[in-house]
Symmetry: C2
Subunit: 186 residues, 2 copies
DNA sequence: CAGCTAACGCAAAAGAATAGCTTTTGCCCT
DNA sequence: AGGGCAAAAGCTATTCTTTTGCGTTAGCTG
């Protein structure tokens, strides 16, 4: 955006707020650009020009919803920190609204910038957990890439491609397997 | 569908064929229901009634594209079989058209049936590879779930959420790590 | 072969998206 | 401060998509 301040900023905020309100009032399926624009006190053409289409707008909004609200909990031990974080992550992402936001974020975003942001959020939180562990002097702290591959990716894959059968125990198993590489599998 | 044979089947095939043709001719972005319907020799309302909207239709077509065309190669050894398969899988899925099909399949499919089908295709191919290995009497053959979690899921996650930086070497590493669980990580 | 009904065609109407042009409003420069 | 430039929003007409109601066709069943 060439003009971050003033009217542009107000319009962006009004439109995002309108999406939030209308999502709650009429449901995601019933959202349309004219409806959102009218609620935001803006003309539809403004929305089309700024966002291109409804999908891209919803993609933007979805990324906001997916931003973590707090720092990961600090229990004093890596395994517990990661487990708690993974359980909560899975819980949020696998819920109906979480799945809807993920899909929206992926969808209206051919370049992958919004999707990349989602991954960056997770990477950031994991980085925090791992850094704490390293600062405490814990041994065998994996790197963030490994945790993304071994914990986050399987959860996301199942959320997107294999609906059903996801629970906190699965998250715990992934974390445990990730932290104990010598464990034998059949 | 209550009437699998006759006209219904012909319409379905004509519409799918029209999508294929037009994808090649005008590009995915330019596809519209009226355009597809006219090419298929059908009225738009028929398409809307059968598929609901464009996204669901494209989701159906995408799943067809994602169906594997051949059995996995048989090299006589599990590690090589899996490596070859993963390399090819990543290559196809990470390509621009592969990514587009994945997104389409996920998108127009609130129930997740089409997405589940994609995962089932991969599981089937992996199952074939693992079964061969077991029949040969190889030791330490993982189960299909493990391969999905450790090989397929990370590739898919990166394709969807972290564009860029994907190559055959990554696929090889995932397979190797999956087959040698005692390997130490930092 | 006769009846039933799902599925399609047709056409009208509602709604959404686009494009051209005008107006407003930040922002920068003197 | 004031003036000029250009980005962004408003307005409106037009096009295209989507929905809907009703009549027709054509598989399926007895």
């Amino acid at each position: 955006m060439a003009r971050p301040g003033g009217r542009s900023a107000r319009v962006q905020q009004a439109v995002h707020a309108a999406v939030h309100e209308l999502e709650a009032e009429v449901g995601r399926e019933a959202l349309t650009v004219p409806l959102i624009a009218s609620r935001a006190g803006v003309t539809p053409s403004t929305v089309y020009r700024r966002w291109g289409d409804l999908r891209e707008l919803l993609s933007d909004v979805a990324v906001e919803h997916l931003r973590p609200e707090a720092e990961p909990e600090d229990t004093g031990e890596l395994a517990a920190d990661l487990t708690v974080w993974a359980e909560q992550f899975l819980d949020e992402m696998a819920s109906p609204s979480g799945r809807a936001y993920i899909r929206d974020a992926l969808l209206g975003d051919p370049e992958g910038a919004n999707a990349g942001q989602c991954s960056a959020y997770a990477a950031e939180q994991i980085g925090t957990v791992l850094r704490r562990a390293a600062d405490r002097g814990e041994q065998r702290v994996p790197d963030a890439e490994t945790v993304l591959d071994r914990v986050v990716a399987p959860m996301m894959y199942r959320i997107l491609f294999r609906p059903g059968g996801l629970d906190a125990d699965y998250a715990r198993r992934l974390v445990a397997d990730c932290l104990t590489p010598e464990r034998d599998r059949r």
